[in-house]
Amino acid sequence: MSGYAHPEALVDTAWVAEHLNDPKVRIVECDEDILLYDQGHIPGAVKIDWVGELNDPIIRDYLDRERFEQLMVSKGISNDTTVVFYGDKHNWWATYALWVFKLFEHPDARIMNGGRAKWIAEGRPLTREVPSYPPGEYRAPERNDAAIRAFRDQVLAHIRQSGTALVDVRSPQEYTGERLHMPEYPQEGALRGGHIPTAVNIPWASAVREDSTFKSADELRELYASKGITPDKDVIAYCRIGERSSHTWFVLKYLLGYPKVRNYDGSWTEWGNAVGLPIEK
């Protein structure tokens, strides 16, 4: 993991195996499939379901400070806990959960490199036993959207400014407007296909190797810089609902150390449907 700007944001599977009983560490699984954790998880890991636990049930938004505190208490997480996320699909939902934790400025949040797939491929143990921990002690600040989250109007201003960059991390077919969702996924949710003007297309999963671990710092730098996504710019990433782009956000911010990166979680399901917003095909 040498060469990354913030190598401490990443741990490997061996590190996790050595810290399964460390009371200062909480392992958190976050998956696309809501039953995957229940089918078998890393011993001692707790589950966070992005639909039920991170999203507000009424407003299209994330949970507020009070509910985040309750969630932390219920998972046995305190302000000084090291939280390590892992999950399915190259850690796609794991980085999404980490991003939400960072909206509340949780200090020590990391990703297990390679995620669930690598843990299993290495023959490491899984269990169905759901652990129980003493309640955490947590005081969260108000959610801070300004630093790492972008809203529609900000994106509209962003694409008219110089010194900015916009990265569309969806599949090439979604970027061109041929599809409204990834290949193989049900087509849904947007009236128009295409992308936000000025966006370049760098599919999120191009940042990982076949074993789901992140590519080297040099490879990643080249991948993004070759399309004009460079650290001197104010960068916004988006996808369909903000989950794939939180993966790219993690790469740019923690692995490459870009100073200003935000995730536009409204993404194509907002932009592609919104009245009065321009698109490109």
Binding site: D33, L35, D38, Q39, D88, M182, Y185, P186
Partner: protein
């Protein structure tokens, strides 16, 4: 629900009732139990993708096939273990439609899973994917019907 009940084969009706009586956590447990119980493919279908139909709208690689004995259907569905939600849904369909006629299958309302309350535990995205599965089984049933009548 009375209209729906009469439109469902008895085995599927019992499964729907089982889910209806379950709270949110129990629904997930039930779905996982079904996922665990999805029968393995019979020998002649194992490693024989050409004999099965891929459910293209599903985010996970799902394959389905049907067999008919005396006009009664048996569905076989293959879903990877990494997708327990889809697996669970596939398993309850296999179980619920065991021994049904093609007409029974075609009469099932496409949104019957709402009655099970699955929309309370699965996000719209997740529901969207699984709703295609029944449509594929109906396509297979239509084919069996055509064979029988043709």
């Amino acid at each position: 629900m009375s209209d729906l009940s009469s439109a469902l084969p008895p085995r599927l009706r019992a499964i729907v009732a089982e889910f209806q009586a379950a709270d949110r956590a129990e629904k997930l447990e039930l779905l996982l139990e079904y996922s665990d119980r999805l029968p393995p493919l019979p020998d002649h279908l194992r490693n024989n993708r050409a004999a099965m139909e891929q459910v293209h709208e599903c985010a996970t690689p799902v394959y389905a096939a049907v067999e008919s004995h005396d006009g009664r259907l048996t569905f076989h569905i293959d879903v990877p273990e990494e997708s327990p939600t889809v697996r669970g849904y596939a398993a309850l369909l296999c179980d619920g439609l065991e021994g049904a006629t093609p007409e029974d299958v075609l009469a099932i309302p496409g949104d019957f899973f709402y009655a099970m309350g699955l929309h309370q535990v699965l996000s719209p995205q997740r529901l969207n994917g699984i709703s295609y599965l029944l449509a594929y089984l109906k396509r297979l049933a239509t084919r069996e019907l055509a064979k029988r009548n043709g």
